[in-house]
Symmetry: C2
Subunit: 182 residues, 2 copies
């Protein structure tokens, strides 16, 4: 896929997600409608400043214009997943997520205690969370799709909706990667 095509799809995708018309986005970004029209039809080769203006007008990070991914909940149990790099005795690894470079990510360690469930408000659109349980048991996930996780379990879910953290044991520890588009 050529850079031009990627840009074309990305702009169209992000624009429709933002609910903006081509004309409106052009106005916001301070560009000519024709420029956008050409870019989205794959007949352009925009400069950095042009792209920058578009990203700013769309209110998304710059590199967000180079991806195609779409998120969804994924659960990988501690004893599941196909190990890779099983060549060395005493070492095995399971691929949990192959993250596109688009989003900004933050890595947290979260500690929960029993009897104090927490409902986190929806984050910005496009946010995804990756959780790996370190200790204890925890019930985690978006409303209607929570999962009960044991140590080593991995759960990825969209976090642009209300979601839930709850310890099922006295304490529970998480490695939490938050991945969001701005």
């Amino acid at each position: 896929m050529t850079p031009t095509e990627i840009i074309a799809r990305a702009i169209t995708r992000e624009r429709s997600r933002a609910g903006l018309s081509l004309s409106a986005l052009a106005a916001r970004a301070g560009l000519a409608k024709s420029t956008l029209s050409q870019l989205e039809s794959g007949r352009g080769n925009p400069s950095v400043e042009t792209l920058w203006a578009i990203a700013a007008a769309l209110d998304v990070p710059f590199s967000y214009l180079f991806e195609t991914a779409v998120p969804g909940p994924v659960l990988i149990r501690n004893d599941a997943g196909t190990p890779i790099k099983a060549t060395d005795a005493g070492f095995s690894a399971v691929l949990l997520a192959d993250c596109p470079p688009a989003a900004r990510r933050e890595l947290y360690r979260a500690d929960l205690t029993l009897g104090a469930p927490r409902v986190a408000a929806a984050h910005q659109p496009g946010t995804v969370e990756h959780a790996v349980v370190i200790s204890g048991r925890a019930r985690i996930g978006p409303a209607g799709a929570t999962e009960d996780l044991d140590p080593g379990d991995y759960y990825r879910y969209p976090a642009d909706q209300a979601h839930h953290y709850e310890a099922l044991t006295e304490t529970a520890g998480l490695a939490l990667m938050m991945e969001h588009p701005r």
Copy 2:
């Protein structure tokens, strides 16, 4: 910082890291020396295709040209770090890493067993690994900078050099995020 400046710094940085002269990179990328010269001096506004060619010639991912970060080992013990979002009882979180969107990332769960240390070969330049211990104790890190980690400990280190995984207990579990530029 304007996009132009960011690009300028990034190209210069990546080029010197790759050990290429301006002329050599221009040849590789199929661009004129003058173009590169202007870009690196901040007097350019390159098109996507131009940047794409540069990124390809440098053998780094496209979005790698929009960052300023430089890696180095970071250790955060389980009981260390300043909690944020301590507003809710029963929930606390510690920011371990705020990752720039530049790199591609993969999330692994790794399991080590006692008596079978593993030395991983250097990955490609710029690769960084983030490790959080899930269970057991483990000795991890690049040669000369290994750390003994307990459950909940977080260690980030450059992985573009030989590095080390070793269980200090019968078994040890890790959440391992590999962050690399291609």
